[in-house]
């Protein structure tokens, strides 16, 4: 019998390219996702050194970071330049590209999975930190910088030291109004924004088995916010069912071969992790952020904390800075915080399930007159699915904006930026200073809380609405 191994170890071992030199092994990359904002310099590097893209057939490009979500034509000159460059790079190297306006365009981390192109046991990289999303399929997926993008384009491998492993055990049953977003914000509060530094996380426990693929993607997406290298969920019947109808799944006997392989992709009994964190989920309720990193969060039912209550001096200083930026007083009830903007979208919470959850709250209700709500589907496929279900009618009738797909207001790189001291309830992943606009203040929330907040004009859960 071989040694019991974790899911991570199995994937790592099966992708090791033995090194001929005395250096560390290389890790082979099965899928390389590319977008316009972090790839131009990598393609330039290839050009300067006369190198080719080794495996254009394992590379997929999407336009997402810097495209408008209110128009099918791109007018911003810098966006045009970025997108034009991606198009010429993809044409030159024979890389499949989904362009702004294509039916398959969307946020790269939404598009890959919905195609069925991300499968259990794969290694996936992209020049974007939220590549961790794809770990939901039992893949090893992580973000890399532009130098590594170039390295993968040229060699289809990466050289990296093996990360440590960490089991995140969720015990108990998730209450019905608590989502994957709340679960992760609760975990981040518990372990901190750097609590998983250097580790690959495996999310485990009955609460995870009950989650849909969309929810698992939200979970794994936010792994990076704990400082983790990656996050993953072992594949099961939920994974297989999700993949079974996807256009790029294996077919025929390939499907059976893949299924047989996937069935071995789990952590063996007796395998050990470098660390284990346990979080009981029975008593969780919706969680929202009050500060300027995703680990600065509290249950919606609570109040803005007093920096003095934190144990160490650095945390206290960070909390004071955060409250100053957020213009919040300790003791203010979270439910009393008024917002002027609600953003529903992003690779964290822009999938069909997220739109359904928000629409269920908004149906028959109106967005408060003081609030602007943007609904940005994670992909054009999500947009089409939502329209087939009539969700866009719900959003439009409530007074929300129904937009095209892209990264939009998550990162403030494109035209969807807040100006002035706006306060936004956002389903995205980062509440950093200035992230959504130079002086914008962000509260991270789940889609259901986002929708309820839009109606109430201040942070609210669906249960708070009359």
């Amino acid at each position: 019998m071989s040694e019991p191994r974790t899911l991570f170890q199995k994937i790592w071992d099966s992708h090791r390219v033995p090194s001929g030199s005395d250096g560390p092994d290389l890790l082979y990359i099965d899928a390389h996702l590319v977008h316009e904002a972090t790839s131009a310099q990598a393609f330039d590097g290839l050009r300067l050194t006369g190198r080719a893209v080794r495996r254009p057939d394992l590379t997929l490009a999407v336009e997402d970071h810097n495209v408008p979500t209110d128009s099918l034509s791109i007018s911003d000159p810098i966006s045009v330049e970025q997108v034009t460059r991606l198009r010429s790079n993809c044409a030159e190297h024979g890389i499949e590209l989904f362009r702004h306006g294509d039916a398959q365009q969307g946020i790269v981390h939404v598009v890959g999975p919905e195609l069925g192109a991300i499968q259990p046991g794969m290694t996936v990289v992209c020049g974007d930190s939220h590549t961790s999303t794809h770990g939901a399929f039992g893949a090893l997926a992580f973000g890399v910088g532009t130098s590594d993008v170039e390295h993968v384009l040229a060699t289809q491998t990466l050289s990296m030291p093996r990360p440590r492993t960490m089991a995140v055990e969720f015990t108990g049953a998730l209450p019905p109004d608590v989502t994957a977003k709340d679960l992760m914000l609760a975990l981040l509060t518990e372990i901190g924004a750097n609590g998983a530094h250097g580790h690959v996380l495996e999310y485990r426990g009955a609460a995870i088995r009950g989650l849909s693929m969309e929810s698992r993607m939200t979970l794994c997406n936010l792994s990076i916010e704990a400082g983790a290298r990656a996050g993953m969920v072992a594949p099961d019947e939920v994974t297989v069912e999700y993949l079974a109808t996807r256009p790029r799944r294996p077919t025929g006997s390939d499907w059976d071969d893949a299924l047989a392989y996937w069935s071995g992709l789990h952590t063996d009994p007796g395998a050990t992790f470098d660390r284990t964190v346990t979080l009981g989920v029975d008593a969780l309720s919706p969680v929202v952020t009050w500060g300027t990193n995703p680990g600065q969060a509290v249950p919606l039912s609570q109040a803005v904390p007093d920096p003095a209550q934190f144990s160490d001096a650095a945390e206290q200083a960070a909390a004071r800075r955060a409250l100053e930026y957020m213009a919040l007083e300790p003791g203010t009830r979270m439910r009393d915080i008024e917002v002027d903007t609600v953003f529903l979208g992003s690779c964290t919470n822009g999938r069909i399930e997220d739109l359904r959850a928000a629409a269920a709250v908004l149906r028959g209700r109106k967005v408060a007159p003081s609030v602007r709500m943007l609904v940005v589907p994670g992909s054009m496929q999500v947009r089409a699915d939502a329209e087939r279900e009539g969700l866009h009618d719900v959003f439009l009738a409530a007074g929300a904006e129904w937009r095209l797909s892209g990264c939009s207001m998550c990162l403030g790189m494109n035209a969807d930026r807040l100006s002035g001291p706006s306060r936004c309830a956002s389903t995205s992943n980062r509440n950093y200073e200035g992230r959504q606009g130079d002086t914008a203040r962000t509260h991270l929330v789940s889609p259901a809380v986002a929708a309820a907040t839009a109606v109430a004009g201040r942070l609210a859960a669906p249960a708070d609405l009359s």
Partner: protein, 200 residues
């Protein structure tokens, strides 16, 4: 790249934890197609305050940024490294880093070095007292030295070797090209392919 063995420079103290990549360079400055030209974006929002460390004339020319834990957490944007480099920062010392940033930094010859909390605190205190306080980051000996002290550090051996020799990362990997080809022959046949390969 030119071989890089050590750097000596004056400390720029940044006494903050969880400095995220959006602070190092806001996304609106990340839209260039080049690897240079990012100095204007470095800490663009924080630099609006007159008392921010980079605005201190007594510290002009400082090249070793010393920061609190979890420096450069967040985004994968290599622009954060390019912006620091464009400003003239050659090394960043902190108790911990965002993983992706640290990798990006070493790939660009920016010495991102992890040091114990107490050492970083000591360096911050020393730099507060003396704006001209210098330190040396020695990649050969893997240690940081300053007047009256030294501290060993660990660094990814491959990244270190590439920097010391001034070697090209990709060229080194491609020297193992036969190994990659051999691996490719054994990959499962059902794995997805994109583009023309798929249609064919």
């Amino acid at each position: 790249m030119e071989p890089l063995t050590e750097h000596t420079g004056r400390v720029l103290p940044l006494r903050r934890s969880d400095v995220d990549t959006d602070q190092i360079i806001p996304s609106r400055f990340c839209r260039r197609l080049t690897k240079t030209g990012y100095a204007d974006g470095l800490f663009a929002r924080w630099r609006e305050a007159d008392d921010f460390v980079l605005n201190d004339p007594a510290r002009a020319g400082g090249s070793v940024l010393v920061a609190g834990p979890n420096f450069a957490t967040g985004s994968s944007r290599e622009h954060a490294v390019w912006a620091l480099r464009d400003w003239g920062i050659a090394a960043v010392l902190a108790p911990s880093f965002g993983d992706i940033f640290r990798r990006n930094a070493l790939k660009n010859g920016l010495l991102a070095v992890q040091l114990p909390d107490a050492v970083v605190s000591g360096l911050l205190d020393a730099a507060d007292r003396d704006p001209g306080f210098p330190v040396t980051v020695d990649l050969v000996a893997c240690e940081v030295r300053w007047d009256g002290g030294r501290q060993a550090f660990e660094v990814d051996p491959r990244a270190r070797r590439l920097l010391l020799d001034g070697q090209d990362d990709i060229a080194v990997t491609l020297a193992d090209g036969d190994g990659i080809t051999a691996y490719e022959r054994g990959r499962p046949h059902w794995l997805p392919v994109f583009g023309a390969a798929r249609a064919g």
